[in-house]
């Protein structure tokens, strides 16, 4: 049990998906302008990533590996993720309309979120067991959500500040993200 908690902490804080592994930058910068959209995106990523992480692990272990088809991994994973997102969208629309409304346009956007694909590949490369993969998928997604929501809070404040014209929008966003990364860098000392 302790191992899993350690693994979770390292995925959320030390090896944070956005600030230490550089994955999921596009939604990180794109959906962090408002707190509401940030929360929506964070929820959607957690939901899809846990599903995608477990399904791709099963596909790798029971289909690709036994038949020696590992070179097809990239195409298999992206198809799984794309169809999973579509399926989740339909399922939520029918059975949990409230959640579907809450996640809104962020569901389809997740297909091209490289954090999802990235975590699935990390799970395979690190040769995690199924339970470990579940833990990492959830904690990487939670780390993404945590940073996204924190960042959205800061960005809402930046809107009120006077920023040089050339630095507006994405440029100041990146510099702020750099400071965030510096803060998270301190967690490396824990590991």
């Amino acid at each position: 049990m302790g191992d899993y908690i350690l693994l979770a902490i390292s995925c959320i804080l030390v090896n944070n998906i956005v600030l230490a592994q550089y994955l999921g930058m596009c939604p990180f910068l794109g959906t962090s302008k408002k707190m509401e959209t940030a929360i929506g995106m964070a929820m959607a990523v957690i939901f899809v990533l846990v599903l995608a992480g477990s399904i791709t692990w099963l596909i790798q272990a029971y289909i690709l590996k036994p038949f020696g088809l590992e070179y097809l991994r990239t195409i298999a994973f992206i198809i799984v993720i794309a169809s999973l997102v579509q399926f989740v969208e339909l399922f939520l629309k029918k059975s949990i309309p409230a959640l579907y409304k809450g996640l809104g346009i962020f569901l389809p956007l997740i297909t091209t979120n490289c954090a999802v694909m990235g975590v699935c590949l990390i799970n395979i490369n690190e040769e995690y067991t199924f339970v470990q993969s579940l833990v990492t998928s959830f904690s990487y997604a939670a780390g993404f959500g945590l940073v996204l929501v924190l960042f959205a809070g800061v960005r809402e404040r930046i809107l009120l500040a006077r920023v040089p014209k050339q630095l507006e929008d994405t440029a100041i966003g990146l510099v702020t993200a750099g400071l965030f990364a510096l803060a998270f860098f301190a967690f490396k000392g824990m590991a």
């Binding site: 550089y22 070179y71 992206i78 750099g178 965030f180």
Partner: protein
Amino acid sequence: MAKTITQEFVKGLWDEIPPFRLVLGLCPTLAVTKSVENGLGMGVAVIFVLVCSNILVSLLRNIIPPKVRIACFIVIIATFVIVVELVMQAYAYPLFLTLGIFIPLIVVNCIVLGRAEAFAYKNGVVRSIVDGLGMGTGFTISLVAISALREVLGNGTFYGMSVFPPAFQPFTFMIEAPGAFVCLGLMLCMMNLAGNK
């Protein structure tokens, strides 16, 4: 509206240069620019995938039904990414190891999908090739520029050769994650200054 072939190429080099003007494909930009060698390798891989997928999408643009086009694009792109992956594994294994998961992640690089959707799906083959080449070259130039800055300051080397006297203290901040963000943000600011935006 009609642009000449040269204009299609040149727009990728300055007017719409990714990732500065089109803020797409940031993940590989930040992750692989620790050294010029990595940046260049990534750039070349992206050029190849971009040109090939543009050709195929543009050839098939009358056959692909609009409703499932995104899925078709992704499958086409994934095919070429696998080609790159296998070729790199065979001929540039050390580079393949350093770039790691960022090679398969070209599949979800917004630049490639974006050009398929915004350009190749609406234009002829020749134009699409030129567009892919221009955008890919622009992306490579950006990657090399960022990685040159980061490698020279953060490691004191350029393409593996040292450029400073041995007494130079490398500014390690630049090759770590925070440096990547700050460096890209400041370069974006420079681009805005130069373009008088």
